[in-house]
Subunit: 348 residues, 2 copies
């Protein structure tokens, strides 16, 4: 099995990325300052699209840059691309081979936008099309479900934002990232099939929801995608706020909900939601570094206590990766090659 | 029951909006041309957020304006709002009372952005905060699930884009909109409890997916939300492209999928996906005006043959509204007041 190795490798991958590509990030940040974009547009699909969701909050909050997610079909199927001339356009793709993402970058570059690719293959078309490239250096990812390339994508975004804001506190926190992720993994240090298999409780789970807000809106989506890909269970992901606008109606006694609720600005809203979900009898799995969130949790997944909120998505998702992998094993699925999926999906 | 009346009322609501507010739309379009925004940022929640998804494609394709969806929590919880000074910022809210949407508009106006509110209440805080207001004139919506205000929101966006592009063909098509929606409703003309109750087949459906692409990406989300709100069934919505990146793994024999596949630019990709879903044994419900899409469909929901693709979301969603309402009735639910929901959701 490759998946457990790739999950375990993440602190090393993050350390390598920080050590070897910080200069590249600073160079791209300088180009961004020169260009002075009115906004950022990010083109991505699947797991990379969840990295884009993280970028939306991190660039917005720390660099005050609004982020739009691209509409690739306007570039490909409709051939009516919006005008991105005043934008920084970032293409995120593990393989660097998504044709539609490449088309968005090509159109944007022609329109005069500043273009950046974030991929795990410096020779890929997307890396070549963009004016700048930030390589993930994650090494080959052999399991179909993306894990180490996802956390590397988030770290790459955090590196760009940190270089752009040029703030000592952000820089110091980012340097601690590999340690935070390693600490998160220690909760799962035993081999996936050893130890108390608490995930067996979810063997027949047939629906679920994941909820986050702000920085961890992305985490809700990514954990959801991992469970879906590896366990073939239909689940939904929401921002805490959107969830109250309708979807909360589906919550019934025993409905499993994974809530990402780290200490920070989103905590009061998430604590309130956790109370409501408990009142409805939901089964709660909580990822947090704040003990109060575990009050009604069936299962607590802990994050490092001193981790700043903006970095928590890079550790929180690791709990979801391990949960999805273990549940897939409990269900007897082939974890490295889930049914119906291929590593590189070419969409137009 | 109000819901069936509000669904049936939609052609009249659309006609009134087109007749009475086209001048307002032209006035706002003139202000947009003067301002020359680098991009659009739309703040919305729940059903209104699905209207924003439609706006993303329509403004992008027809007016070449890129659209970002706002991140309200950066304005409220984090109090680190991105800089929207070079944006047209549109707040969409049925009630006009979403506090977080109001905060995005207030911040944007202070930063120097051009602000527009689209609401069903001219006296509401959002209508008052924005520099311009486009009223929906949909009349009171008494059922908790939004129907006529959603189609009115889409029509309001179509009116703004048509006024901005100032094209005779778009204008002529828009004038036919109430007729298209009336024609779509005729398929469901019998009272919801009369006639062959084909929805009974789905009485015990416990999961589902909705898929669209481009203009109808919004429709996939909105039909999904209606089924979730009214029938309490967890379902997921996807763009055809994202669906291939992972979620397709959950499709198994008998899994119900609602596909919106009108004639137009997205048709070849959707026909290909329909074939794949059929091969996997999925149960297909198809909304289209192209007979080829019905080849493997368990149930066909027809759209007017000559309706241009960009307007189809306003008719396609009606099929989903009726399906969700009928299924809720078959399940014995209280359709006007679904459990756990209130008409106005205040999120911060």
């Amino acid at each position: 099995m490759y998946l457990d190795q790739e999950i375990a490798e993440q602190p090393v991958v993050l350390q390598r990325l920080l050590s070897e590509e910080s200069a590249t990030a600073r160079q791209i940040a300088a180009a961004i300052r020169d260009f002075d974009p009115a906004f950022i547009c990010i083109a991505a699909r699947g797991t990379s699209d969840n990295a884009a969701r993280y970028a939306q909050y991190l660039f917005g909050a720390q660099a005050r840059l609004p982020v739009a997610l691209a509409t690739p079909s306007l570039h490909t199927l409709y051939q009516m691309p919006p005008n991105l001339a005043r934008a920084l356009v970032i293409g995120i793709s593990q393989s660097g081979r998504g044709e539609d993402i490449g088309q968005v970058l090509a159109d944007a570059r022609e329109q005069g936008a500043l273009t950046v690719g974030i991929t795990n293959d410096a020779q890929s078309p997307i890396a070549q099309t963009a004016a700048y490239h930030l390589p993930l250096l994650a090494g080959p990812e052999l399991s179909v479900a993306a894990t180490k390339t996802y956390t590397a994508q988030l770290a790459a975004i955090a590196m760009l934002v940190t270089a752009l804001v040029d703030d000592d506190e952000l820089r110091a926190a980012l340097a601690r990232l590999p340690g935070y992720v390693a600490q998160t993994l220690t909760e799962h240090i035993a081999s996936p099939l050893a130890g108390p298999l608490w995930v067996e409780r979810y063997r027949y789970m047939d629906a679920f929801a994941t909820i986050g807000r702000g920085y961890n809106y992305a985490t809700a989506f990514e954990i959801n995608l991992k469970i879906k890909e590896l366990c073939y269970i239909a689940g939904e992901s929401y921002s805490e706020a959107d969830f109250r606008h309708g979807p909360i109606a589906v919550i019934d006694r025993g409905f499993p909900v994974i809530v990402i609720a780290p200490a920070g600005k989103t905590l009061p809203a998430l604590l309130d939601l956790l109370g409501q979900l408990h009142d409805k009898g939901a089964e709660l799995l909580v990822i947090s570094n704040e003990e109060a969130t575990f009050a009604h949790a069936q299962h607590a997944m802990r994050l490092p206590a001193d981790m700043p909120e903006w970095l928590t998505p890079i550790a929180a998702v690791v709990h979801g990766q391990v949960f999805a992998m273990r549940l897939a094993l409990v269900k007897g699925h082939e974890v490295d090659r889930p049914r119906g999926l291929t590593k590189v999906t070419v969409t137009r």
